[in-house]
Each structure stands twice: as structure tokens, then as C-alpha cells.
């Protein structure tokens, strides 16, 4: 290796140049840090002010029963919603509603993710799979999950199963399409590189295709999580017993209007939380992935 060491001089000067660059970057960064902090505080303040203003308008409209075009006479004021929120700890059923919805999401989403990722990998990789599996799926794809509800009720023995099925349908197609897209987007040169390094077909699949498609799969899972919540809430409103969608609809039928808004906020938080969870898991699995690195 003696002669190669000679070549190693170049790398070192290169590395030194790199770290000098980084140092320059970090200097400018620390210089700009305080300025950036003040910008962040400022924009945070303006944001909070805006939200407060909207809440004020809503409060005033409800209290004074605004009745031009929008009818606020039955709309609970933010203060009433806050009061309902404060009473939640005395309502054990609320936790049961949330728990039921979470269980349905977990089941439906997990089934959808498992099946859609496997089918997507096959369809994206093998022409015969694409020819045989994709056409029937293409026909079903434009049908919104919600449109499946009547058929789902007929199809399954229990309402529980049909709701899990609707959740499954909601998540399935976004995950399937993103997986196919991800597999097709894997750089052919990476496949070639792996072949010249001695990889067999199975190695190519799990060393190149799967990790190459992973960013797209994670995006699909994140979108699928959103659509599965959307589908579940609708299904629960129509055919549910328990569940946060059912809770929200029940509040309407029982004329407990503040609870409607409470249910809506809960649905939003649950959807956001589960999407963040997907993204967090995705980042844990892909420490190498920088969304803007490919553009650089």
C-alpha cells in the first residue's frame, strides 16, 4: 500500500479545505443565530396574535348570536368549548371513544401498510405483477373509501370489521401508489453498480430497491395515515358505536354543541400526532435521507 499512501496526501488537504469551509459556515451561522432567533420570536408573536384575534371574533359572534349568512346562534363559543374540555377528566367514556378509534386506525392502517408495500414492491419491480395485479386495483382506486361504507356493512358481519375495512381502504391506495412510484424511481445506475459488485436478484431487491424506495414509501405512509383518519371518522359517524367520529356526531344529535368542536379538535390532534409519528419513525430508519441533498 506504500504507493497509495502518496495519494493520501491529496485527500488530507481536501479534508482540511472541507473543514475550513464548515468553520466558515458555522461562524456565519453563530453570527446570524441571534438575528434568526429574534425573527422567530417575532413571527411566533404575530402568529399567536392572529389566532387570538380569530378566537375573539368567534367568541363575539357566538355571544351576540351573529345571524347574517353564517348562523352562530347554536355555535358554541370558544369559552364553552374550553369549559367542555375542562370537564373531560370526569368523562371516562371519552377515553374509550379515543381508544376505539386508535385501535381501528392501528388495525386498518397496519393491514393496509403491510399489503400495499408488498404489492407495490412487486408491481414496481416485476412486469408480470404489474400486468396482472395493477388493472383491477386501477379500477377500484378512484372510488373514495367513504363510498365503500354501504358495501362494507353488507360485506362484514360486524360494524367493527366494516369500519376497520374502511380505514384500510382509506390508507391502502396512497401507500400502494407511493411504493410503486418509489420502486420505479430507484436510480438504474445503483442497480447496475450492485450487479457489478456481485449482487444476485434477491440482493438487488433488498439492498437496493427496498432502501431506494423507502423515502417514497414513508411519504405514502404519512399520506395514508391522513386518509385513513378521514375515512374512519366518516365511517364512525355513519355506522359506529364508540369512536371519536361517533362521539362528534352523537354530540350533534344530543345537542351538546361544545362537544362537537371538542371532537373536531381531538380528531385533528390525533391525525396530526399519528402523521408526526410516521415521519419520526421514517427519520429513525433513514438517517441518510436528506430531502434536499439530491438537488445539491
Amino acid at each position: 500500500m506504500a504507493s497509495a499512501v502518496q495519494g493520501a496526501v491529496a485527500p488530507r488537504s481536501n479534508a482540511a479545505a472541507l473543514s475550513a469551509d464548515e468553520a466558515a459556515l458555522s461562524i456565519s451561522a453563530s453570527h446570524g443565530a441571534s438575528a434568526r432567533l429574534s425573527v422567530r420570536i417575532r413571527s411566533g408573536f404575530i402568529g399567536a396574535l392572529s389566532i387570538a384575534l380569530w378566537l375573539c371574533c368567534w367568541q363575539l359572534a357566538s355571544v351576540h348570536k351573529w345571524n347574517f349568512f353564517f348562523r352562530f346562534e347554536n355555535i358554541p363559543a370558544p369559552s364553552e368549548v374550553a369549559a367542555a374540555f375542562g370537564e373531560l377528566y370526569r368523562a371516562p367514556k371519552f377515553a374509550a371513544h379515543v381508544g376505539n378509534s386508535l385501535r381501528r386506525i392501528f388495525l386498518g392502517f397496519s393491514l393496509a401498510a403491510g399489503l400495499a408495500v408488498v404489492l407495490g414492491l412487486l408491481i414496481g419491480r416485476f412486469r408480470i405483477a404489474a400486468q396482472s395485479l395493477f388493472p383491477p386495483l386501477e379500477i377500484l382506486r378512484p372510488i373514495p373509501a367513504v363510498a365503500w361504507i354501504p358495501l362494507a356493512i353488507l360485506l362484514f358481519a360486524s360494524a367493527e370489521q366494516s369500519m376497520v375495512f374502511i380505514t384500510f381502504i382509506g390508507a391502502f391506495f396512497p401507500i400502494l401508489l407511493s411504493t410503486i412510484h418509489g420502486v420505479e424511481g430507484v436510480d438504474r445506475r445503483l442497480v447496475y453498480a450492485s450487479l457489478t459488485l456481485g449482487a444476485g436478484p434477491l440482493d438487488v431487491f433488498h439492498e437496493v430497491i427496498l432502501p431506494g424506495a423507502l423515502p417514497s414509501i414513508v411519504t405514502g405512509l404519512s399520506i395514508g395515515m391522513g386518509t385513513s383518519w378521514f375515512s374512519l371518522v366518516t365511517a364512525e359517524m355513519i355506522s359506529g358505536q364508540f369512536g371519536i367520529g361517533y362521539y362528534t356526531w352523537e354530540a350533534y344529535t344530543l345537542q351538546q354543541y361544545p362537544k362537537i368542536v371538542l371532537g373536531m379538535i381531538t380528531i385533528g390532534l390525533l391525525g396530526m400526532g399519528s402523521s408526526l409519528l410516521i415521519k419520526w419513525i421514517g427519520r429513525r430508519f433513514m438517517p441518510w435521507f436528506k430531502p434536499d441533498a439530491s438537488a445539491a
Partner: protein, 265 residues
């Protein structure tokens, strides 16, 4: 290292390559006859788009030969294989693997155990000045460093032949020269055959024992120029009269080619 010193002979006999069918068919290579000795460093030079890279594709085994025969040592080339390492232009490191894991890949495919893989990858990366970057991801490295990792990933498998497709064309002039010198020292040490595709006359002359000049598409061999300049070569060679004389000879061949209309096949 020495057991493979007599291996790495390449022979092309009347190799034609067509792409597509019918009216859209394109002929990339036409009747290529070429012998490359074990351990020889041969550059392939030609006008851009002439089909230089197709030769690499055919030798690597990605590109099917339409007619003719292509052998590396006794074996006909039919598919990619680790005895023929390929270094592409850029961005062919696995982005999801660290530098060390990228280099270990070929060993892993051969079933070499984990600790032995780690040791070999560490050794070769240290020799190339990348010891501090074992656990970096490719996107954290400069273009020159990425190409060094690429070389290490191929060399660690001790290939008989290395096929290089304009590997340094995206690097700046300074880094490129460093890479050329590094490549020569590695070639000297590993005793492999190198087929190096480039459109840079200086690069071809500086590196090679022989320069093969191609015509416009469909590419045929226009001339072979043997480069009898002493080794080891250093960058001051670039301005020596004998270097400049060879450069003029090759430039005339290329310029003649650039202005002649493409011949129908």
C-alpha cells in the same frame, strides 16, 4: 495480489451494438476489434455521443452485443460480474449506506464475514486517506471523495479489470489531477487492467499505455496511439515536448472526425 497478475486480458472481435428496432434503431458500435493485454492501461477517446460508454456497458455486461464476441480472459461476457469492476461518472454510491458499508458491499455479496469485511474496508479506505470518513454518508462527502470511495468499493474486490466511464469528468481541475495520480499509483499496486473512457486528450495521454480513438457514431476504431512515455508519470509531463507532440497527433485525429459527416452503416 500477484496471483491475478497474468489475468485480465480483454478481447473484442467484430463487436456490433444496436439499440432499438426498426426505424428508430441506432447503431452504437460497429465492428470493434480490440485486444487489451493483462495489466494494460487503455483509454478510449472519441467525440461526445459516439458510443464510448457503450463499450464499457458491453464489457461490464449490461449491454447486449448484437454480433461479434467479447471475452475477458477465457470467458465470454454475458452478465455483470465482480471480476470486472465498474466506476461510473458520479452518484453511484448507495446513499443509504455509510462509506464503510458501501466499500464492504462486494465482500458481503461474496459471503465474507462481518469482521473481515470491516477490516478490509478500513484498510483500503485508510490507504486512500478516508479513515476519518468511515461512518459518513455519501452526501456528506465532496465529489472527489465520493469518487475515491467508488474506487475503493471496486478495488476491495481485487478485480482483474476495471472499467471507468468518464469517472473524473465532474470534478474540478485540481481534484481531477489528484485523482489521476491516485489512480496511477493504485493501478501500479493492484496490477489490474484498466479501460478508461474519456473525452479529455490530456487525461487519456497522462494515464494510458495506449489510446484508442473512435470515430463518430456508429463508433469504429479510427486509430490506436501507443503512449511510450516513462512511468511513474508526474504532472510536469503535461508540458513536455513528447507529450505535446502526441497530443497534437490525437487532436488532429479527433478534429478530422468532428467535421466529417457521420457515415451511414
Amino acid at each position: 495480489m500477484t496471483e491475478s497478475s497474468a489475468l485480465g486480458a480483454i478481447a473484442l472481435h467484430g463487436v456490433d451494438v444496436h439499440f432499438g428496432e426498426g426505424k428508430t434503431a441506432v447503431q452504437a458500435l460497429s465492428g470493434i476489434d480490440l485486444r487489451i493485454e493483462p495489466g494494460e492501461f487503455v483509454s478510449i477517446l472519441g467525440p461526445s455521443g459516439c458510443g464510448k460508454s457503450t463499450i464499457i456497458g458491453a464489457l461490464a455486461g449490461f449491454t447486449k452485443v448484437s454480433s461479434g464476441e467479447l471475452r475477458v480472459d477465457a470467458a465470454r461476457v454475458t452478465a455483470p460480474g465482480p471480476e470486472r469492476g465498474v466506476v461510473f461518472q458520479q452518484h453511484t454510491l448507495f446513499p443509504w449506506k455509510t462509506v464503510a458499508k458501501n466499500v464492504e458491499f462486494g465482500l458481503k455479496m461474496r459471503g465474507v464475514g462481518r469482521s473481515e469485511r470491516k477490516r478490509q474496508a478500513r484498510d483500503i479506505l485508510s490507504a486512500m486517506g478516508l479513515a476519518e470518513f468511515l461512518s459518513h454518508y455519501p452526501h456528506q462527502l465532496s465529489g472527489g471523495m465520493q469518487q475515491r470511495v467508488n474506487l475503493a468499493r471496486v478495488l476491495v474486490n481485487r478485480p482483474r479489470v476495471i472499467l471507468m466511464d468518464e469517472p473524473f469528468c465532474s470534478l474540478d481541475a485540481q481534484t481531477r489531477l489528484q485523482m489521476q495520480e491516485l489512480l496511477l499509483s493504485l493501478w501500479h499496486e493492484f496490477h489490474m487492467t484498466v479501460v478508461f473512457v474519456t473525452h479529455e486528450v490530456d487525461e487519456a495521454l497522462f494515464l494510458s499505455d495506449r489510446v484508442v480513438v473512435l470515430t463518430q457514431r456508429p463508433a469504429r476504431i479510427k486509430a490506436e496511439v501507443s503512449v511510450e512515455l516513462p512511468r511513474p508519470r508526474t504532472r510536469d509531463l503535461l508540458t513536455r515536448p513528447e507529450f505535446v507532440g502526441l497530443k497534437r497527433q490525437i487532436l488532429e485525429l479527433l478534429i478530422g472526425e468532428a467535421f466529417s459527416p457521420a457515415k451511414p452503416s
